[in-house]
Structures are given as C-alpha cells and as structure tokens.
C-alpha cells in the first residue's frame, strides 16, 4: 500500500503531537480517522485535513473507554475497509509528589496514558491479524526510560507503554505484517504543560528547549514508512535514553537535582486537576508557544553572550595596553 492508500487512526488528535500527526498524515493523502474527547476541536481539525487532501472520519471517544475504542476501530474498517496505521498518542500529565497527590488523579493518569494505549492496541490488533498486517505506533516518552521527580504517574505509565509495546511485538511475531513502534519524545512544545494537573504549588514550564510537535509527527510518519522498535525524538531525548541505559543512577540524580529546578517557575499556582477528567475549552492547537519563548530567551542570552564577549575582549585589550604602556615603547621599536 502506498502512502496515498493508507488508512491512519490517530488518538488524542485534538491538540499537540496528535494534531501535528494528523496534519502530516493528511498531507500525504489517504484516509484519516481522528479521535479525542472534544468533538468540536476534531471537526475543526477535520476541515483542515480535508483541505490538505485526506478523507477524514471524525470519531470522538475517550481512550479510557475500552468499548469506545473498539467502536472507533470498527467504524474505521466499516468506512475504509482497512486500518493500516494506528497511532496511540493520547496522554495527560500530572505534577506533584507521589504521596501528596490524590489517588484518583494518579489512577486517572495511568488510565489515560497506559490503559488508553492498551485499549487502542486491543481494539486494532484483531483487525491487523485479519488483514495480515498493520503498523502500531505508541507514543511513550524519554520518561519511559528514566524516572523524574514529581511525575511518578506519568513516568510509570510511559514505562508501561514501552513494556506493553514490547510484549505486543513479541505476541504478534506470527503475523509478519504487524509491526509495533515506540516513539520517545523529550519535552515537546504542546499545550500538555499548561493543561497538566498540578499539585506542586508552582507553575510548570518545559525543561530545556522543547522540540516542536511537528518534529515528533515527522518521526511518527517515518515509523509508518520504515518501522523501528524505538525512536527517540530530538537530541536531548536521544542523549537521555542513552545515558539512562549506561549510567542510570547518575541520570536519576542529575534529573532530581538539575532538571527539577528547571521544570518549575517561581510562580505560585493553586492545585488543579488540569484536563484529567474534563477536556479544557482551550488549547486545541499543536503548540503552546514555548519554543517561541525559548527562542526569545536564547536571543536575549545570545545578545548577553556577545556583549560579554565584547566586554571581555575590550578588557583584555585594555589590560594589555595598560601593561604595554608601562614599557618603553620607543625602546622596542628602536631595536
């Protein structure tokens, strides 16, 4: 099947990485099924994707509902006859100490992230088996390889997604056409940080320089064309995964000390449940402007750096002059 004949399902398509994936798959043509909790956001996305040349089916569903995911898969094959690529992307996040956050929020994060992927996987695999193939792409995270303070639910669920992918890959070895990929993005510029549940009392900002969601989407598309077991996205993620494998203890300590300081701004916030139970009425978009902010910051820092360098050079010259001035110049030239 060529790209133009591909039937793709993307969960969590209303915003962030899912939306970027949907737009990229729409660019390639073929058929697209978008699913998320917000029907209105999906309709808006569908209009945009149809404009890019894809045949779009909107299927609002909550990934925590196993039957709803079965229905999405059945609707897809009833409408397009096949499902070639299934992207399990829907995910939520929560910040807070493990013993401090309410248990129902912790449960909900795992339900959405891990059970959501499980529900999608078990919905699509029988169809893959019947048609003799298909590509399952699960979006995990660099936190699927290492832990992180104040994000135990998220990291645990992302570790789980990786394990689930591995098991499914082993189970489906008897059908040659079925491939399972895990995508491991680092911090990505999406509305996730803003809509995450927050029990820390401080505002969350993405650590380091987040990569664009479109870059993650590009990797997802590459997985659909050339499947790979696990694909880290971005240099930080690649380094993080590698380091977590070689020196896991060190990465843990470094994460706890350095990154946790970067991850929270000095801005107090009230505890919030974020988008865990109810989808927010904003943020139906790919990015959240974090990259734009970081680019401004980096431009500022670059300006500071250049100024500093210039001052330094000036200082060196001045010192040299002062030093030289003490010597009899005439004598040097006189020799």
């Amino acid at each position: 099947m060529g790209r133009r004949d591909r039937v793709v399902v993307v969960t969590g398509a209303s915003s962030g990485i899912g939306r970027a994936c949907a737009l990229r798959f729409a660019e390639a043509g073929g058929a697209l099924v978008v699913t998320a909790r917000r029907a209105d956001a999906l309709e808006e996305l569908a209009t945009e994707c149809r404009g890019r040349g894809a045949d779009v089916l909107v299927a609002p569903a909550d990934v925590t509902d196993a039957e709803a995911m079965d229905r999405v898969a059945a609707e897809t094959v009833a409408r397009f006859g096949r499902v070639d690529v299934w992207v399990n992307n829907a995910g939520v996040n929560m910040y807070g100490r493990t013993e401090e956050v309410p248990a129902r929020l912790w449960h909900r994060v795992v339900e959405t992230n891990l059970f959501g992927v499980y529900h999608g996987t078990r919905a699509v695999l029988p169809w893959f088996r019947e048609q003799g193939g298909g590509t399952l792409i699960n979006v995990s995270s660099v936190l699927g390889h290492t832990g992180f303070p104040q994000q135990s639910a998220y990291a645990a669920s992302k570790h789980g997604i990786r394990a689930l992918s591995d098991c499914v890959r082993q189970e489906s070895l008897d059908v040659k056409g079925i491939v399972v990929c895990t995508v491991l993005p680092g911090p990505v510029d999406t509305p996730l940080f803003r809509v995450a549940a927050n029990w820390t009392g401080r505002k969350v900002v993405p650590p380091g320089r987040p990569v664009s969601a479109d870059r993650v989407a590009a990797q997802v598309l590459r997985c659909a064309d050339h499947p790979r077991r696990e694909v880290p996205v971005g240099g930080a993620s690649r380094f993080g995964v590698l380091a977590a494998r070689i020196v896991p203890g060190m990465v843990e300590r470094a994460g706890a000390r350095v990154l946790s300081r970067q991850h929270f701004a000095d801005q107090p916030t009230a505890p919030s449940e974020g988008n865990l139970f109810e989808p927010p009425d904003f943020g139906a978009r790919v990015d959240d402007g974090w990259r734009a902010g970081s680019r401004r910051r980096s431009r500022l820092s670059r300006a500071l750096l250049v100024t500093g360098l210039l001052l330094g050079v000036a200082a060196v010259i001045a010192t040299a002059r002062a030093g030289v001035a003490g010597q009899p110049i005439v004598g040097r030239y006189a020799r």
Partner: protein, 296 residues
C-alpha cells in the same frame, strides 16, 4: 432486564462486523442449481415458444443464519468465482449465494443474448426460488445494474442493496471512452483474477460479452436508483479507472444511501480486495440494524 430471550433478540448482542478469530477456517462452497422460467421479453424475441426455462447454477456458502442471506452478483462476462473470496468471508456469519448469471459460467447459455432487464427478471425469479426471507443484494461492476433491476422488480424480497464499483457513468457511456478505460482497469487486476477472467470469457464467448456490455451501456442506473425504497450502499475503490468519485457521489445523492470510498481498492474488489469489501458490507448491515432500532 429479563432473563427471557426471544429469538429476535439474538441480533441485539451480535454485531455482523467482527474481526475473524485467528485460525478460523473459512467455509467451502456447495453447488446450487435453480431452474427459472425464461423472461417473457426474451421469449418474444426468440423462435422457441413454450416452456423455455433457464438453469442458473451457482455457489452457496453456509447454511442458515440470523442475518439476512447475502447474494453476490458478478460482473461482465465472468462468473461466481470472481466473487468467491468475498463470499467466503461473508459466509462466516451466515448464508451467502453467488449465482452465475444466465450466459456466464456454468449456467445455461440462452441465445439471443439476454439484455440487462431480462437478466434482472431471471435473477428475481431465482431469488424467490432460492431464499425465503429478504436478501442483501451485492452487485459488483455490471452486476450492480442487474441488482438494481431485481430490487425494483421484487422489493419485498430485498433487504438492502450494495452497489460495488457501479458502472456505467453517463458522461462515459460510449464504446470509445469505455474500451481504453477497460484496458487501464485490466492493469489493476491480479494475475489470478486475469486467469479466472480468461477462462470465464472463453466460456461465455466474446460475442456475448460485447452484446451484454452494449445492453449495459443503454441502461440508466442514475434514473432507476432513485426509485429504490431499501437502504443502498455505494462502494468505490480509489484505484478504479471506470468509476469516478463524482459519479459515486451522484448515485449516492440520488438514492439517499451511504457512500464508502476505499483507499487503494481496485475495480474488481470482490476478488482482489475481499477483506475490504466484506468489512464494509457487514458494517453497512450493522448500520441498517442500528438505524432500524433507533427508528422504532
């Protein structure tokens, strides 16, 4: 909530569209032969008077079913083997028939060559003889014209109609615009299908094939489809050079039915894309059932 289950409620639990369990064995076909009276219009054209009857041979899969039986009608010049891969898949849920149209395959070869309405009349008689309840008619390519004719003749015997790769578009209703597209379509076929097609064409005779197609060119499906009073599904593959997107949309708009566009699917979808076709047919039956229940 009651512990009693009436026979009619079995369908409440069972959806028709389900993935096949791994390792399931698809049922094999049985021979099925029915003799039908020759259509009156045809008898008036021929010299043979009296009790001319046509024997329609075909294949049958499965035995009894809760869901309505499905009848697959093949395309121009070919026979039941062309729809067999789809029939086998559909048969895991119930009874499926695939008759050879008169003149094709192993059925009788009436001369003069019957027209589409005459084939429709014969198939309507076959339908009454073969099935007890209303059936789902699936016509592939030229079979969709025959199916349309049958559904208008005996509406009570028809549960729903599926028009898979329906021909012929009004704008292309000329030999010169059909012949080269036909050749382009041949290029999309699998080698296995081409072998089957060659054998079936030889059996039917190329003269019969051309005359039947000439009759198909004079049909006006866009006018008759609006008179249907049963649910209709129009089904088109994106790799089909004979059926354009606009024509499929037009047909759907005229009958108020459903339209599915299958990415990467070819014209001869009943043979080369059986998974896709059987899934959309079963999905369509589920939708009809849901609508019927919602309307009650």
């Amino acid at each position: 909530m009651t512990a009693l289950t009436r026979p009619g409620e079995v369908r409440d639990l069972a959806h028709d569209l389900r993935p096949l369990p791994p390792g399931v064995e698809l049922p094999g076909p049985e021979e099925h032969t029915v003799a039908v009276p020759a259509p009156a219009a045809w008898r008036s054209r021929t010299d043979v008077h009296g009790s001319a009857s046509w024997r329609i041979r075909g294949l049958r899969w499965g035995t009894r079913s809760v869901r309505p039986p499905i009848v697959l009608v093949h395309g121009l010049g070919v026979a039941a083997r062309m729809v067999a891969p789809t029939a086998r898949r559909l048969a895991t849920g119930g009874l499926v028939f695939a008759p050879d149209l008169p003149g094709c395959g192993r059925s009788d070869k009436p001369r003069p060559v019957p027209t589409i309405p005459e084939l429709g009349e014969a198939l309507a008689a076959w339908l009454r003889a073969s099935t007890s309840g209303p059936a789902v008619l699936v016509g592939v390519s030229m079979g969709s014209q025959v199916v349309l004719d049958v559904a208008l003749r005996v509406p009570a015997a028809v549960h729903a109609v599926v028009l898979a790769s329906p021909i012929v578009e009004p704008a292309r209703r000329r030999w010169r615009s059909q012949l080269w597209r036909w050749q382009v379509e041949q290029a999309t076929q699998s080698l296995r299908l081409r072998a089957i097609q060659a054998g079936d064409y030889r059996r039917a005779g190329i003269g019969r094939v051309l005359r039947t197609f000439s009759s198909a060119l004079s049909e006006r499906p866009e006018e008759t489809v609006g008179r249907l009073r049963v649910p209709v599904l129009v089904c088109r593959g994106t790799r089909d050079p004979l059926v354009s997107d606009g024509w499929a949309r037009d047909l759907r708009a005229r009958c108020g039915g459903d339209l599915v566009t299958l990415p990467g699917v070819v014209h001869a979808m009943s043979h080369d894309n059986p998974v896709e076709l059987s899934r959309v047919v079963l999905g369509f039956l589920d939708r009809i059932e849901r609508r019927r229940r919602a309307g009650e």
